[in-house]
Amino acid sequence: MTAKKNISSKIKFRIGISGFFKGLVILFAFSCVIPLLFILFYIIQAGASKIKWSFLIHDELSDSAGILHAILGSFEIVIFASLISIPIGILCGIFFSENKGSKFTYWSRLAVDILQGVPSVVVGVIAYAWLVRPFHQPSAIAGSIALAIMMLPIIIRSTEETLNLLPDSLREAGYALGLPFHRVVLKVIVPCGISGILSGVMLSIARVAGETAPLLFTAYGCTFLSNDITKPMETLPHLINKFATQGDPKVLDMAWGAALILLFWVLLLNIFTKLITRKWKVQL
């Protein structure tokens, strides 16, 4: 009798512990969301008043040029970075996934992992040493290349991991129909993994869209609209950095407005990623 009582009181105690744990998990999960909500709230509060059409081309309060040139500059630099990194990254990811066992893959993959860990400011310094100093001039394309280097590991690893999840039976189905290797890859493997590959690409864009450090000494920044990729170009993160450190409260307000726009851009990219991932997902 006492034994049974003992057990049931023990079970009650455990149920209590279990409930406590559940509460703890929920609390911590929620506490992860708080910083995001806080950032969103703060930036919207500080930046929302700035969001008007005139903010784009001319700001009356601080009597300075708007931020349109920085938005377009950011677009342009990110687009060039994507043009460089997407083909290389995807092909490299395919290579890794198709040559799993080889030593070369092992070492290259290690290199890619290390590249992912390289601080962005170091990438910026390297791009400066390679592409800015030799030409004696900061340039948008140097910034694009710095960003491309940061995008590569993300694209490579997500491509590789996506393709590794595809069953071998798909490849075999392709080979058994007499497809050569390149067609198996381009017509079977890549289309079946397209949603994962694209989501890696989009995430890498979202990741670098807000990078400042690699652009500090490469694209540098300028005060007017420029389309010449061999010349300095303004970008949103760089503009925010510049405005936020000037000490003039009116200019600081512009930094908040620009931050809001940058934040929304990144947010949109993330939402867009989710959407295409779901839409293009191939049901295996």
């Binding site: 066992g101 069953p167 039976s169 798909l170 490849r171 075999e172 189905a173 392709g174 080979y175 058994a176 129909l177 007499g178 497809l179 050569p180 067609r183 017509k187 079977v188 289309p191 079946c192 397209i194 191939v282 049901q283 295996l284």
Partner: protein, 252 residues
């Protein structure tokens, strides 16, 4: 008059140092259904994949000897030509999940970049699906993805995909082992139909199936072709004791 379509002469297959198919000599006549039987791991799949050069896709896999297709050694041919002449159906149905049913049937043309007029594609699709007794079931949903079909339908779609390429030989690796009994019997019925136009080589674990669908049966044991004879003879009067043991269920 029977004509030989495939002749294996001293064929060996290896995974690295592991010798898994040993000196197989076997002659296969046109428009017959051959069952390949044997316990698990005896090299049935490996031998089958050797015939259309799929074996060598596995890293470290090698082969030697000869497999003659109409007198030409497939080990000397370019694998792509071999695979166009010798189609294959796998253990698990593997339709292309990104393609519609229609495109799955003509995948061999489509993915190879062979452009066909719409009318010709329509004919190939209808003919191939009819051959695998799937046309009536899917003719109204040809634009749906192949992965919407049931397992048995998917497997027939895969057979249609192989048939659409008009090969000479069709290889089946335990084509019904992932299917329910009803789908299994549908696929078995197909073999009788397909035999008119193609030579079938069917790896099967299921002795009743071998007895039902095949004209000749080959029995593999530990990588060797132990016995190869008329299916009736194999099941009623096998010569080798290992075959007898297998057929009477003394090992599986």
């Amino acid at each position: 008059m029977e004509s030989t379509i495939i002749k294996s002469v001293g064929y060996n297959a290896y995974f690295g140092d592991n010798h898994v198919v040993k000196n197989v000599n076997m002659e296969i006549a046109r428009n017959k259904a051959i069952a390949v039987m044997g316990p698990s791991g005896c090299g049935k799949t490996t031998f089958l994949r050797g015939i259309n050069r799929m074996h060598e896709l596995i890293p470290g896999a090698t082969a030697n000897g000869q497999i003659l297709l109409d007198g030409e050694d497939v080990l000397e041919m370019h694998p792509i030509f071999v695979r166009l002449k010798i189609g294959m159906v796998f253990q698990r149905p593997n339709p292309f999940p990104n393609l519609s049913i229609y495109d799955n049937v003509i995948a061999g043309y489509l993915l190879n970049g062979i452009k066909l007029p719409k009318s010709e594609k329509d004919i190939i699709v209808e003919k191939s699906l009819t051959k695998v007794a799937l046309w009536n079931e899917v003719k109204d949903s040809l634009v749906k993805k192949g992965s919407f079909l049931s397992g048995g339908q998917q497997q027939r779609l895969c057979i249609a995909r192989a048939v659409a390429m008009e090969p000479e030989v069709l290889l089946f690796d335990e084509p019904t082992s992932a299917l329910d009994p009803i789908s299994t019997s549908t696929v078995e019925d197909l073999f009788h139909e397909l035999k008119r136009n193609y030579t079938l080589i069917i790896v099967t674990h299921n002795m009743q199936q071998a007895a039902r669908v095949s004209d000749l049966t080959a029995f593999f044991y530990m990588g060797e072709l132990v016995e190869y004879d008329d299916t009736k003879v194999m099941f009623t009067n096998p010569k080798d004791t290992r075959t007898q043991n297998y057929i009477t269920g003394r090992f599986s």
